[in-house]
Symmetry: C4
Subunit: 493 residues, 4 copies
């Protein structure tokens, strides 16, 4: 460093690539090419000043001594020749110029960093009708909001000093191996938000190695989806039709489609819920229907997209009908929509392969219990269920931490529905980005609670004291009998 050679600004400017990078700090010229990789603050921040003067940025963070102490003296290239400074040199670096997001314009995908972002963008860029159909939930939205809130009120008990260098999120679901304990919950009509609809989702699932649930009301058929993504594993979500023949036909299609790994029979929508945002859009629309034949009017029960679509679903479905389903398929049969430990036990008795604890995203019956509460109810009242079938959870999953909490509490995997639809707003790439985000959040959470594989996930790693009062503890209500007795016709009058 005794060689106080003068270096001109033009010379410095010639070294401005990652492969050959000089910077000036306090009029001293340094070659930092080899240091780029080592810089604790990352290489980007240095490369911003490659071939230029980094003094201001440097001194914001570092004491003057740091550079001299950390770099090899040979990297010192000399002193800046002040006489060579020109207008170009003194021009400040380009300002931070954050992209402006117009109200109805989608921001660049990489600026979306969590599932909430996707929801926010959809709320501003999807059509009013699409937004109402996707985002709406039953009546006062209590269950919709409680779904997430109960995850937020479940606390981790992180363990430290465990080797978490390599983390493995792979999961067995119904005998198959997937990259994540996450699947796309079946949700109707993804085409409303993107022309590729469920095909975009299928291709993203193929790339990311996760399972996709196909809605009975999918915009694309199961065969079209298989064509779009030939190696994706699917399960088919079945609404049993009042006309059994139609359901039988669907099951035949499933049987012939090797990518379909299981049938999920939806049972939490015996009757379509009252989704008021959805119905309000519809109520408005009728005002402008040009001709109004009586049979085309909204009936008094409201005419939201949700209710209209549900017309064919059989509200008379019972446990007996599951035998019929099992007769028409050789694939595993699961239930979607279990909300009570008693029904989990019945599902075991019915010989099913899995149950998806779900309240339909709060869309069907308001104040039905958050899924995590049902999971805890099963733990408390009949933990043997976990030994007999696989338990899945959806409704309210927004974060990798939510995924991990459900798995710790006994779930095999979780589903995300609405968020995936919102991500489909960006097509296949959007869904891939969302899956990447969840995977990163999940891996971060696993490491930070001290585990590296999901087999280690255990109830010991979470604390549910903040929601335990929401969990029913015993099967039968102590006063059910007295009330029933009082209700007996003629008991009094």
């Amino acid at each position: 460093m005794t060689d106080q050679k003068l270096v001109s600004v033009q010379q410095v400017s010639n070294h401005k690539t990652p492969e050959d990078c000089w910077v000036v700090v306090d009029n001293q010229v340094w070659d930092v090419t080899d240091f780029l990789e080592e810089h604790p603050g990352g290489s980007t921040v240095i490369l911003k000043y490659a071939g230029g003067d980094a003094t201001r940025a440097y001194s914001e963070v570092h004491a003057p001594s740091v550079m001299k102490n950390n770099l090899d003296p040979q990297k010192f290239k000399g002193v800046l020749d002040q006489s060579t400074i020109d207008a170009e040199w003194t021009k400040p670096p380009p300002e931070e110029n954050p992209a402006v997001m117009l109200e109805h314009e989608k921001p660049p995908l990489h600026t979306l960093i969590n599932s909430h972002d996707f929801e926010l963008v959809a709320s501003k860029t999807a059509s009013k009708k699409t937004w109402a159909f996707y985002s709406s939930a039953a009546t006062d939205l209590i269950t919709r909001d409680a779904n997430k809130l109960c995850f937020d009120r479940t606390w981790f008990r992180p363990r430290v000093l465990r080797n978490v260098r390599d983390v493995d999120t792979t999961t067995n679901i119904l005998g198959g191996r997937y990259k994540l304990p996450l699947f796309v919950s079946p949700a109707a009509m993804a085409k409303l938000i993107h022309p590729d609809g469920e095909c975009a989702i299928a291709r993203a699932c193929e790339r990311k190695g996760i399972m996709q649930g196909i809605s009975n009301n999918s915009s694309y058929t199961m065969d079209e989806l298989r064509t779009a993504a030939p190696t994706t594993s699917f399960f088919f979500q079945l609404y049993v039709n009042r006309d059994r023949a139609k359901s039988a036909a669907l099951l035949r299609q499933c049987n012939q489609n090797p990518n379909i790994k299981a049938i999920f029979v939806t049972v939490d929508a015996a009757w379509p819920g009252k989704r008021e945002a959805d119905e309000r859009v519809k109520a408005d629309e009728t005002l402008s229907v040009p001709m109004a034949p009586s049979k085309a009017q909204n009936d008094k029960k409201g005419g939201g997209l949700g209710r209209v679509m549900a017309g064919f679903i059989d509200p008379g479905l019972t446990w007996e009908d599951l035998k019929w389903v099992k007769q028409h398929t050789h694939k595993p049969v699961c239930l979607k929509g279990v909300m009570c430990a008693d029904d989990a036990l019945l599902a075991v008795r019915a010989g099913l392969d899995g149950i998806l604890l779900s309240n339909h995203g709060g869309r069907n019956l308001d104040t039905s219990p958050p899924s995590i509460v049902t999971l805890l109810e099963i733990q408390r009242r009949c933990p043997e269920v976990f030994e007999s079938l696989e338990v899945y959870v959806d409704s309210g999953i927004r974060r990798g931490t939510d995924v991990l909490k459900a798995v710790c509490l006994g779930a095999t995997a979780v589903g995300m529905g609405r968020s995936m639809l919102f991500a489909t707003n960006y097509g296949q790439e959007g869904v891939e980005h969302l899956v990447d985000i969840i995977q990163d959040e999940l891996e971060t959470a696993m490491r930070n609670i001290g585990i590296t594989s999901l087999a280690e996930a255990s109830p010991d790693l979470v604390h549910t004291g903040d929601i335990d009062h929401l969990v029913p503890a015993s099967r039968s209500h102590p006063y059910a009998r007295a009330i029933a007795k009082g209700r007996r016709p003629g008991s009094k009058l």
Copy 2:
């Protein structure tokens, strides 16, 4: 479909009714008349494009293949003749043109889809005085708000896979059969919001098969109401007058009116509550009273409509007086306003026929317990009450789910007061619409928890862990004695 006949836009336009409906999708002309009924998305959305081009709306939801796969090839009418396209054809369909609601104008009735909507409309369209009288509650509104909140914090435990095709909401109340476990709670002066007042309500109850409670302060007499709605069943809500002769006269009228099925003696208004919104309107008004005779002034205790009207009610009423009531009527006698399990037990002992758990909509004593809490207190401390008399609940019922929760927890029926007044804003039709809404919400909730008759409603179907801490468990406070002892005059000084 080999017949690629050209069809002109004029030809297509001729088929634009539900009985004869063609649409164009991707330049292919289809006859969808027979498909209208089968369309899972309902017929309205297709009829919107009857005789026109539905390509855009179709492709928002469906994959290209759907139409071909689902329709009979014979329904294919040919290819659109592009040369025939004119300005009329390319005109977009009429835009959604939602009706604009002016601040003080009632929106069309069919756009109101829940009880909250009726309240909102009343707040904007009723007179300041009427709104204050109807909406106000005691002092800090804690009980008013807790009434609803406690229903919201009562969770369902829905059961699945039960046949819920046919649901029956009929209910026995005091020996009569009604279409719903719902009655109109007696509320004073319905004429303030509509000239037909209680008559409108009576006619709506007649149409809908539910019971109406007639307020002692009704705008119309019980005979006028009977004339208006000759087959409606009523109960009469009695404020026992300081002048017993006047009450005796009313009871005589009741006895002579066969539509009156019971007498409900109000006991939760021993003294009129302090309804501050109501009193503020009154306080303002006096400022502009043109002459101010001393005896007409508001007294210092405030002069809201509620307090002024309550002047004749006897605050000296006791259990003994109920004997007097029973001597003056042969009809069932119930109490309106029980707020403590101890009084429920006394009502049993007094040989009454029913008790209405009510805090007067939070209008009388702030921080009196929400009705659902009193219902739980009875369960916990004296469930035998349910075997001896009928228990009703009002205060805070806004949803069909609230009705169902009360019934599950032991109530025979529930009352709605304020909401019915707000619905009377639209006259008889408004009340009918509200009853329809509640019935739809109730049926939807019944199906979604897996029951088809109210006899199946049971405490096992709800979980109250979120409000159990609000329920008194034992009769006597452990330290009541020590405190009483300390209070004994002369115990210390």
Copy 3:
């Protein structure tokens, strides 16, 4: 009524006083003079239309038949002579014309109907400094807000059908008889908000028969107050001075003043709290102090009025010093500021006459327990205290219901401080109005829970399940020993 005499509008106009009042309804002229008193809706509303046409107001509330059914036929004076109608007659009655309240102008006293109103008016009309001094509380205001919230979360268990015609709020306090279980808590410097300061309060207390606590920092001396209100009973709030002689002098003055009934030694202000709103005003002010001698500056601990005034209070006060106090007075000695059941027990042992559970309105130590919580702690841990001395409560009392809850839970009486200062904004009349409001609220609450004297107030009439988790149950913390052991110097290093 067969006499269809025509009556001119001029004739009607002549009967427009309470003593002679005609009104026109549906063109029929009635003399309603005798009915004024009987009208369930009060006389004011009729008198508004005296000598005029009441049709519109009448039909808003009543069915057409009501008048004919209720009035003596002789009161019918004839039919309005339509030909006599003139412009004056058809002029609408004066509109409601609510007084406009300017931001910094006090509204008429009668329009203030609760203690919150007084606070709101003071916030807009008192000087910035006064508002800051009165309203401020310690640091994050948690205790200030919890004081009221804990009352709000204490629920009544009202009993019905008890004769509550006559209600008696009189109370014994330290051997004296007062109209209410309410006293004015001693609060410093009432003159800041009204020139009459504590004198106005004293005169109001005299009129209303309640006790006043005189602050050690009162704007007026105890002798001046006695002169202002010769029959008011006072207690004197003593801050024991670092200079005992000064306190002894004050106690001598107390001994000589027969209106002083007791000495309340303040113990919850061992050190002045950090009232940030107060200190911010002070911090601002110093910016404009014209000369800044070093010793006059705010010290670093802030210089709010509260802290500056507290300079003379002895932080070295102990239970031993109470003996000194008792030696200097023959009057009952009480403690103001007990916040823990253990100290209540020590007060019994020290032979004191009463304890005022108080956290100084949350002004001294944030997150000190709400007074009602301390009251419950005494109940739970040492109910025998109630048999040995009188227990008072202040901090957070804003409503008559709060008063009643405290009395039900064992308090002999409660104090209101801040609210009384805010009422002093209107001088003596303001304080009287506030006391009337609280009395009305208290009587209303007593009647509505079914009691007529405070001797009947009992813990059985309230339920504290919503705040019981805030109440310490046992004396000694189970792990106190382990922690102390760990803290022993040298236990480890």
Copy 4:
């Protein structure tokens, strides 16, 4: 006072200093020089009117008699000569003229009176990037907010009538004696907010006698800090490097630096958390990076400053590695980041000297438990820990009351990180001011709960009933086994 000498306004004006101060009240001239010190309201308020007319200010607070009663008659100097009044005299005193704070301008330091103020000022005056880096926390900010909230929901149980004249906050930490149970938590890159960075903090700690934790990512080296503040005690916070040699080198530096009293190994950052505010700044920035070499881009996991900086931290660290650390230093070794009682026990077994309960300010894993909850968990499950090592707490400390609560519950000392960085906005003076504030708040709280030394701090002085449900009580979850069994590969399918 019989000497009614006339005094001119000019004469009065000559006595306007603290050493010679006259004021006029009600036209009477008084020498109040000797009284300045005694004035309960402080001298400032009098000096404001020195040599002038104080009538208005006086009568706002005092009754007319007070002056005459309290001052020596000799201090009366005569009656104001009205004829001498001139324009200058009648000019009102300078108005309160609070300094206007511009949005991006730091207000004068003395107007900041609590830690929240420092945060607010930093949010408005620091660069966007700095604010994001300092203030951000993991994902939904639940833990960040719960940290403070749990302190707020921990209630004091203040004891009264204990001599609290002299209060002593000194504390032993790892054998050293400090003025406060408070240290500066190690936080990275203080230079971002002030050029003096950690040096400013070090000098402030030296002045105030508290310990400073040096971040592994400090802007200044430990030797530079020692030079800046030669008598400050430090501990060094170590992120163990993937390249152990680098960590060994740091430990050698620590060994040679006598001011370093201990090594704190960070264990709560096994993987960098997702701090979204931080990442959003970064995401924006990349938009304007002039050249974009592929290897310099933000990776998909986001590129916030926090994540980039964490690249060298070894996620493979285990309890075994602590032996390596202990081999490389002779100083006490503590853990920073324990979040579970089980790990506290392991720390005892590992022979460590202390554990800092910390969730990294909520920056690493959202819904990790608030530190105070972990402290309670240790109490409940393994109180013997307190006898074996020292327990510290950080994350969420904002008030002196928070410090005291932690100490009462067993902590030896607490750390403040973010707040100290925000105070560094004002350089050394800012940090000193913040420490003064915390000390004042702590002393005030100690006195007001009735203790004078931290050895008296005990769990008996707080009540945690409001957060006890958040505390895990037992080690092993009752259903962990059933769930694990169900998860066993092949258990079902």
